[in-house]
Symmetry: C3
Subunit: 105 residues, 3 copies
């Protein structure tokens, strides 16, 4: 089993703030990260303390959204140099993970 | 780029067990964590081995739900002192992450 | 507060690829992991660069799906021996977490 170190990142947004599309576009077109997955929460609150929730999930514009991606530590470090200043404090977290390399060699 | 250490927590619940609202209320009103995001899974099983799944996601009451939050290590440690005893074994996990502080200084 | 080390795993799939059911079945029936939660993303892209997204979440067959589970490090290591070769490179990540054991002793 071969695994390699990677850095995982989660960026926390609210759906109504128009930050999602530019971020995905940046990660896809420019940074060319290996992959990105976007999750929508069903409820949440941020530093403002205001609760964002919905019973009709797909119709809300104000639900929490998390953009998750992982890639080689060096590449992610350089992406975070930019992103960390672009998002409010406490909206990006990262940690080290081990990624499968798909083979025994 | 400035980042600071934080502890990430994920708490695993089932939607029909009435644990979600008291937990969110506690984290919001009392513990005053920086932020919380709640995710609903589309399927899952717990230690009982019983599979919870639904094709009509929003109508099920028995789907897995994950409550995710992160904050300063000391603050989270004190929250976990309480939560770890309140939830069945294996329903809370935590790990260290690095959080953006939003500026170069 | 007692916590014990565990290994968290996330496996990234696309819904239309018929990998989800066999994986859940394997983890449930054979590996007997403590629990599994399946999340559906609302958008994402993989190494191909092709974006999978949908406005009508429940009708898409091509959305990203994440299968998450955690268990004792030894048990997970043996599960990953198998899974790491079964999935394309970069589709499985794992890291160490601390799990509640539900009591003070």
């Amino acid at each position: 089993m071969t695994m390699t170190e990677a850095t995982m990142v989660r960026v926390y947004l609210a759906e109504g703030q128009n930050q999602l599309e530019p971020l995905i576009k940046r990660l896809h077109d420019w940074e060319k990260v290996r992959g990105v997955t976007v999750f929508r929460g069903i409820s949440g609150f941020g530093p403002s303390g205001e609760v964002h929730a919905s019973r009709i999930v797909d119709m809300s514009l104000d639900l929490p959204v998390v953009v998750e991606f992982f890639d080689a530590p060096d590449k992610v470090a350089s992406i975070l140099e930019h992103l960390n200043n672009e998002f409010s404090p406490g909206h990006i977290v990262s940690w080290t993970v081990y990624m499968n390399t798909g083979g025994d060699n």
